[in-house]
Symmetry: C2
Subunit: 205 residues, 2 copies
């Protein structure tokens, strides 16, 4: 590939490191940005610059917030000082997914990942200490652990359960079972095992 | 969707305007950028800023070039002053595609689009004037018109042919016919018609 313009080369290589994008789509995006220099490339450059400077992870709830603003995203204690329920999620995308269901309207605690020796995420980086503080300080009655149904997610859930079990609060986790719309025949053993084990009385809500 | 951080909202909405990306992938990319603030978000912001400032379209050959550098991409007259062949493509991605075939190693003229009343691309914005200049000045023997096989591409090819026909040079266009690997049964009428009309003697190269 003949291309001797280093700035554009550099831009393409950076874009291709974004999730879901390969070299071809990176090239397409770079050319599109170039075609829309004033109304897309410039605002994107500026917004990224501002985001880099101003946006930080809240050290209490784990949400993303501006350094010069109170944390309003996960309604952490800066905003609201007493609440009954606290939902623990791995990351912000998980919070968005929970929000989209409309079943839960309360506060979140965003771990920012799962416990993992490989990735170097320890209880401190997952804000477990701050979680215990929040639960104590805000008089939380129920902690809902909404980590993924993966080995890492479940390990993290166990760890959080262990950390919180002396606080005399209700600790729940999301139900395992049949995904809505699934056919028994095509389900994996693990899901079917969980669905059978955690079966409910018909009529129970 | 609960999200009250305006900078991040703004970033997501800008990213979702890039080609091939929707709101979900834009959110994923924004969070990825946020997770890699120092080694991805910052360099991307800087590179976009530099690209916005320094990169321009060459007014002679249509290629992208730094404002403080000679245009080396399409070997326009700044670099080289006489050449036999000139290949006309619609955009830079088309030039890359041509380059990838390795069949043509010469100079390019990048129109930056096709003639279109709707998009407001007139002969001036397509650098047709500069094309005629280049052909005259550089003693070009053959102009290869490699515009797309769409109505717009072919209209543009006709227009270019009309503009150049008094210059007494060879004007060629890419062959129409069967794509390599295609099966006759599944080809559209237009392609089959062209393939039949432009059939070659067997053994001819």
């Amino acid at each position: 590939m003949k291309f001797t313009e280093p700035v554009l080369d550099n831009l393409i290589s950076l874009i291709s490191r974004l999730p879901g994008l390969g070299p071809k789509s990176a090239r397409r995006i770079a050319l599109h940005l170039f075609k829309n220099k004033e109304n897309l490339m410039k605002p994107l450059a500026d917004t990224l610059g501002i985001a880099h400077e101003k946006i930080l992870r809240c050290k209490i709830c784990g949400a993303i917030k501006s350094v010069d603003a109170n944390c309003t995203i996960s309604k952490c204690e800066y905003i609201d000082n007493s609440y009954d329920q606290l939902c623990i999620v791995e990351n912000i995308a998980d919070m968005w997914a929970m929000e989209a269901t409309n079943i839960y309207k309360g506060h979140y605690h965003i771990l920012g990942g799962t416990l993992s020796a490989l990735n170097g995420s320890d209880p401190e980086s997952l804000l477990i200490g701050s979680l215990i503080d929040r639960v104590k300080k805000n008089n939380v009655k129920e902690v809902i652990i909404a980590t993924s149904a993966t080995i890492e997610g479940q390990t993290t859930a166990h760890y959080i359960n262990d950390s919180l079990k002396n606080l005399n609060i209700k600790i729940t986790k999301l139900a395992h079972g049949l995904p809505v719309g699934s056919e028994i025949e095509y389900l994996d053993d693990g899901t079917l095992f969980s669905a059978f084990k955690y079966r409910n009385s018909i009529g129970e809500k």
